[in-house]
Amino acid sequence: MEILSLKILRMQSLGPDHYWMELENRFKKAFSPGQFLTLRPSPHIFLRRPFSVASASKTSLGILFRKVGAATTILTEKNPGQEISALGPLGRGFPIDPEIKQSWLVAGGTGVAPLLFLLERLMKIQKVSFFYGAGCQPLLFRDLFPQGKYRLFLATDDGSCGIAGPVTALVEKQLQSGEKPEVIYSSGPLPMLQAMNTLGLKYKIPVYVSLEIRMACGLGLCLGCVIPLHQGSSIILKRVCHDGPIFLAREVLWKEITTFTRISNGL
């Protein structure tokens, strides 16, 4: 974990309210897929903001972000050459079991960010299928996908690209056809993650989800991001920033975190 002032290498508008930002990577420790960093876009905004790492090389880090409020609006106004305070690597990434041969990645909207990084890793060692859904065609950022061997399934709410409907319906159709991965990794809006949990339980597939919640420190200090989890017969409290943001979907008490369901729906 380090706090650095990093140069912005690239800033690109991807489509409505979505941006791709590349930062120089001077972190000593490498990021693993699912980990995040916090940025401080301006001294006038009090708290740092968490963002998943969407790509990482020895020299650069890619971030895919959506403009939703004050901090992300300031981010859109940044230019290459400017510096920004970055803190990371934070959290624990997606667990990768070397024994596993086949996995599915299921992304909704901006939630695609950490899964792009995971795809980069997994496609070299496993058979990977990537299910990607968004509101409409301009919000499906296909240019961000790496070259390589994997299958890509697309869905849009309005049917402007891929099948019409939620990405979870696409996943279920594939499951009904008899195909079954050993593990599913998912990231996106909360209702989608909940639907993935239901599918995972129904088809007996472990599902790992990346959770988003409001954070103050991102460092495990303030206990602001704590959620309850099932563990065996008991309920334990975990910090999303420190113990997550990746959790086994069946351990999450989905009902208890509905307040932040509403927060995420507000996006």
């Binding site: 706090i3 708290l47 103050a216 460092l219 303030c222 991001c225 704590v226 932040f260 509403r262």
Partner: protein
């Protein structure tokens, strides 16, 4: 006044940034506030602990507490509302898993304690004394079950009663009391804590606040911290310094070295870093640099000379 303080600094042989809070001698006046620095251990891989004079732990209770459900956080202009609800691991886990490691870090350790009854708080104090803890900070912004759930910090009488009992349970070592700004007259509560035998006061805790989330049709009720409350903290330190003779740890909204100097100039002997650490983990070092810079600029040998410089009205002896 200034002269007597110079004599006192000379008598205590305090050099440069050293300060004394009752019997506790700190290498710098920088104190990491309760609840915003975890149990003190978490940042070992990120920052240098040398600029830190003391760490106040997350408030612990006799038995573990689960705290409040989500949402626990809400950002406001220049501030943060939290409703963590004192989630903590409880005394036993603290003693076994946290305290031994905390002691190896370097800074002085101040254990923050709270309970719903005076028996509970005294029990914590006795156990911590038995484990040779050097300093306690009583978080009295907690309702008291036997006094119709009245928050202790809002009543000089309840404060006096609780602090004098804990004083007996924790003799000879540093006992701090953390004051709340959610009171009509904080100095009278401060005086009650002094009369009951406290060695120092920490002020301020968070300011009662509410956020309205129209989009999700919910309200978030909690305590406000951050730059928004700095003027409240400064005013409270300013007033309390005039009323009591105890060393003060001033905090509320400190986000730079200048903020720390402001608190010291109105009477704080040490300064607390709370939520300012979230946005800038380099803040302890920055505050120390600013204080050293000020000593160099003024040619003074010790930071203690700056305490209360802009609040020189005669203090009661």
């Amino acid at each position: 006044m200034a002269y007597s303080r110079i004599k006192k600094a000379a008598r205590d042989k305090l050099t440069s940034l050293e300060v004394k809070i009752g019997p506790l001698r700190l290498s710098t006046p920088v104190v990491m506030a309760s609840g915003t620095f975890g149990y003190g251990l978490e940042m070992k891989n990120l920052i240098n602990y040398r600029p830190i004079g003391a760490i106040v732990t997350k408030t612990i209770s006799r038995y573990s507490w689960p705290g409040n459900p989500q949402p626990r956080l809400w950002e406001t202009p220049s501030g943060l509302i939290n409703s963590i609800g004192l989630q903590n691991v409880g005394l036993d886990v603290f003693l076994r898993q946290k305290l031994p490691r905390l002691r190896r870090l370097g800074p002085k350790i101040i254990v923050s304690i709270a309970g719903f009854t005076s028996e509970e708080v005294c029990c914590l104090a006795r156990e911590l004394l038995a484990h040779r803890v050097e300093a306690l900070e009583m978080n009295i912004s907690c309702p008291n079950l036997k006094s119709k759930n009245k928050v202790v910090a809002t009543s000089p009488r309840l404060t006096y009663n609780l602090v004098s009992q804990v004083r007996k349970a924790f003799p000879g070592r540093c006992l701090l009391v953390k004051l709340s700004p959610n009171v009509t007259d904080t100095p009278s509560v401060a005086k009650a804590a002094e009369d009951a035998g406290a060695d120092g006061l920490t002020l301020i805790n968070t300011v009662k606040a509410l956020a309205v989330d129209l989009h999700n049709q919910q309200v978030i009720s909690g305590g406000l911290s951050g730059p928004a409350i700095k003027p409240v903290g400064l005013r409270t330190v300013y007033e309390v310094y005039r009323k009591v003779n105890l060393p003060l740890i001033g905090l509320g909204g400190i986000t730079c070295g200048k903020d720390a100097l402001e608190y010291i100039s109105v009477g704080a002997s040490a300064v607390g870093i709370g939520s300012g650490f979230f946005s800038n983990p380099l803040l302890p070092q920055e505050v120390v640099n600013a204080l050293l810079g000020q000593l160099k600029k003024t040619g003074l040998p010790s930071i203690t000379y700056l305490i209360g410089r802009l609040n020189e009205k005669k203090r009661p002896s």
